[in-house]
């Protein structure tokens, strides 16, 4: 059968909802009171293909379209959503949101939206949905071949391709009217190697906020070889140590540490709930000298990049920690309005079906001036961390963990044996003070951040660096 071209093959300029309908819905949302109303409309198309066990198992297409409407009335936010984008469907949802906001008055507000939305330029070169499915399948096969050619110990390979295209419209009673179209592409390879020490897995899964030109930047064979090499390396691994050790994080490997150790604790919603160890610490030294942490939704084509956030606020770079001193928290629009300040462009939501929250975008530690090799050479004994598998934090206590999926022992200044995957645990404020070397290199990591059941794409980045004291949870005596 010949490839079928999707009917929505190119950038679609038609509005998801007519502007007049947005006016009417905002008026309806505020009819029984409330000081702020917002309508968020989304149209999402996604596609994926998966190869496993040498076979293209499955191609999946998905579509989702709808609107979320919220009404702020004093301390209460009322929210409703609908997949019905007709004027009556939207008005019905607006009435439900207004009722949930517990308004009791009868007020008529006029809403003055601009005639045309603020829309950022779209610089996607090749929309992934315009590329033949056969081409995507070819990429999966290349990855399978490349991973298997790394060694006979590779027992199983799975590869997946994923694309998503999300158009959004945001309008609110402050007169904001903005649109955006986001395109994301990701490719992942998992390899399993078997040996005397059992089965081991390797995973490499880069993603970018860009179109199919992603594959000009990333060769699938390289992604596959990294996954396979990691699995093969682990076949030779020894049990990880147990106890406090210096930890050297290779560039890109440890950005998630800052995401967990302090990123979440700097989100204004958790600050307002008194659920962060960083409450009241703005202006204070919270990290070692040289530590500069930035969250930047405009950072290249990284996984957490967008033009406007899900409340219509432009993404921007925000310095959170400047040379060890805490400078600001991250904010969404509703909390910023209450605090009488501007949003920092960190209001994000997984879909139109949920309320936005304060979320990170691309969070990274700025490079220093040490040579990465010299940092290792200067470490008598420790753990060199090359890849992480994600982490978790309790922002109220500051305790965080992250899993080391590829790590090595450092013995007398040299990288020696690979270690079995283990968890690292530390306390955010303490770990930030324990950073004693910051390299002059830099790389990023693609991840998915979960908070209160919502997942959003993020990236994190950092130069090679050393933390003097973290606890590693291995099983070695």
């Amino acid at each position: 059968m010949e490839p079928v071209t999707d009917r929505l093959a190119t950038s679609d300029a038609s509005p998801l909802v007519p502007r007049e309908a947005l006016d009417a819905v905002l008026v309806a949302a505020l009819r029984s009171g409330g000081e702020f109303a917002e309508v968020f409309v989304e149209d999402r198309r996604s596609g994926s293909a998966r190869l496993d066990d040498r076979r293209v198992e499955e191609l999946v297409s998905g579509r989702e379209r709808g609107a979320g409407i919220r009404v702020v009335n004093g301390d209460t936010v009322g929210f409703a959503h609908t997949a019905d984008l007709t004027v009556s469907g939207l008005e019905h949802a607006a009435a439900a949101a207004a009722a949930a906001a517990r308004g009791a008055g009868t007020a008529t507000r006029t809403i003055a939206l601009p005639d045309a939305p603020r829309a950022p330029d779209n610089d996607v070169i090749v929309f992934p949905d315009t590329v033949a499915k056969s081409r995507k399948i070819e990429l999966l096969r290349q990855a399978d071949d490349a991973a298997r050619s790394e060694g006979d110990a590779i027992r199983s390979v799975s590869a997946s391709y994923a694309e998503a295209r999300r158009r959004i419209v945001v309008a609110n009673s402050d007169g904001l009217y903005a649109t955006d179209e986001r395109v994301r592409t990701r490719f992942a390879v998992q390899a399993v190697a078997a040996g005397d020490t059992g089965m081991h897995t390797g995973l490499e899964a880069p993603g970018r906020t860009m179109g199919f030109e992603f594959f000009d930047e990333f060769a699938v064979a390289d992604i596959a070889r990294k996954a396979a090499t990691q699995a093969l390396t682990l076949v030779e691994s020894v049990p990880a140590p147990s106890g406090k050790v210096p930890v050297v994080l290779r560039r890109g490997a440890g950005g998630v540490l800052f995401h967990e150790a302090c990123g979440h604790g700097l989100e204004a919603d958790l600050i307002q709930r008194d659920a962060s160890v960083f409450v009241g610490k703005v202006g204070e030294t919270v990290a070692a000298p040289g530590v500069t942490l930035i969250d930047d939704g405009t950072f290249g084509r990284e996984w957490g990049t967008f033009a406007i956030d899900d409340e219509g606020q432009p993404a921007r770079p925000n310095t959170l920690i400047d040379n060890g001193v805490l400078t600001d928290y991250m904010w969404d629009l509703v909390r910023a309005r209450k605090a009488g300040r501007a949003s920092s462009g960190n209001g994000r939501r997984e879909t139109y079906q949920v309320l936005p929250m304060v979320r990170m975008t691309n969070t990274y530690l700025a490079a220093g001036d040490a040579d990465a090799d010299a940092i290792i050479a200067d470490t008598d004994f420790g753990v060199y961390c090359v890849q992480l598998g994600g982490g978790q934090v309790n922002t109220a206590t500051g305790d965080f963990v992250f899993g080391v999926t590829e790590g090595y022992l450092i013995e007398r200044g040299r990288i020696t044996r690979p270690i079995r995957p283990a968890q690292l645990i530390g306390n955010g404020p303490a770990a930030l003070h324990d950073i004693d070397a910051i390299g002059n290199d830099f790389a990023t990591w693609t991840g998915t951040c979960g908070k209160r059941g919502q997942s959003v794409p993020v990236s994190s980045g950092q130069p090679t660096l050393r933390i003097q004291n973290l606890t590693i949870g291995g099983t070695a005596a």
């Binding site: 066990d53 198992e57 999946v60 997949a83 147990s242 994600g390 899993g403 291995g474």
Partner: protein, 452 residues
Amino acid sequence: MSDVDLLALCRRVAADSRPGEQIEAYGVRTSETDLDVFDGHVESLSVAGIDGVGVRVIVDGRQGFAWAGSLDEAVVRDTIRDARDNAAFAEPDEHNGLATPADVATAEAPDLDLWRESLLAVDTDAKIEFTLALDSAVRAADQRIRGVEAANYGDGAIERALVNSHGVEAYSRRTICSASAYALAGEGDETQTGYGFAAGREFSDLDADAIAAMAIDRTVRMLGARQVAGRRLPVVFDPLVTASFLGVLSAAFNAESMLKGRSLFQDRVGEVVGAPIVQIADDPTDPAMFGATSHDGEGVPCRRNRLVIDGVLQGFLHNTYTARRAGAATTGSAARGGFKSTPGVGVKALSFAPGRRDQAEIIAALDDALYVQSVSGIHSGTNPISGDFSVGAEGLLVRAGAFAEPVREVTIASTLPRMLTDIVEVGADLVHLPGSTAGLTLVIGEMTLSGS
């Protein structure tokens, strides 16, 4: 919530099949309330529903899938078209196929009563009043409590329908409600946190005072927690931790993992994989389990599957695809992550068979151990393929039969196979939890604690 007849819609999709083509439609409709209270007021209230359909097409052994977050007829037609197009690009596999009447005949569907009309009748004000009461109960009961990070109430009414072109049909519906509070305690620089919750099928199953008591107890007993020196010692899992542990272990029982050479239990059927006291079953026919359901994700009746008896592995869980490929019968274990994915294999109601003693009796009999109240990094620190298990832990030391000092910022590590063989006691205190696993107190004879 749309008023579309879900089963009728699925029948129309299945009837669209062309000669030589198999079609399956899986429709889902939910209606949900989500309510957050903070600092004595309603912070957010959401009342909404989500509808959607997933369509699977198999032609010449090739499988394609598409889904849409809508039950609109025109959108559903586009979804069938997308699924057909996707099938054209997949590779043929002789084992691909939908459930047949013969698969359905492998068990009798349990008659489960999981729907409570009374939950739908509860008005929003009552839910608000309940959650406000929960928030204030946590604050009022103990002066060491500094605040409540969040008090939440949520409920849902879920309907699912499945029809395929072989004539297989299934329809089920259930209600669920839950409430939780996350408490903060401590003065000055110290903060400790703890979580209380309850879940049920109807509103009267929830008791705000019991949830508050659980949150307070689990928070204040952590006051003064410190890192301790590393060593090997027996570890006691709280029921919530055991449920997470089972969640990690569940992948090992999956025939899909086994057929791809990625199960820890590869070639181990009939062999000893756990201590002789270990009995594990997946039983979606038990209505007390929150994962209970009459039919699996392919429309095949669910049944009780005993996976480990007296420490011996009995077999793997199958859907119809893995059954055909392995030359086995389906165990009614097709699992779907909602309407957005094809049916894989998964547990629905996995549990250890309860032992004889409750938690207090178990603790009283231990001389030196770590009781783990909560773990962190369960996804980043465990691997069901390699068996590695290393997670952050918080809890209390147990000394001479009683809880002693609270502990934080430590990890506990072992491997999944060792942990199963090292189980020395299974508690009697079965706790049903939302999700696909149940919890109870579990004692692992030895793990490595890493600390200072």
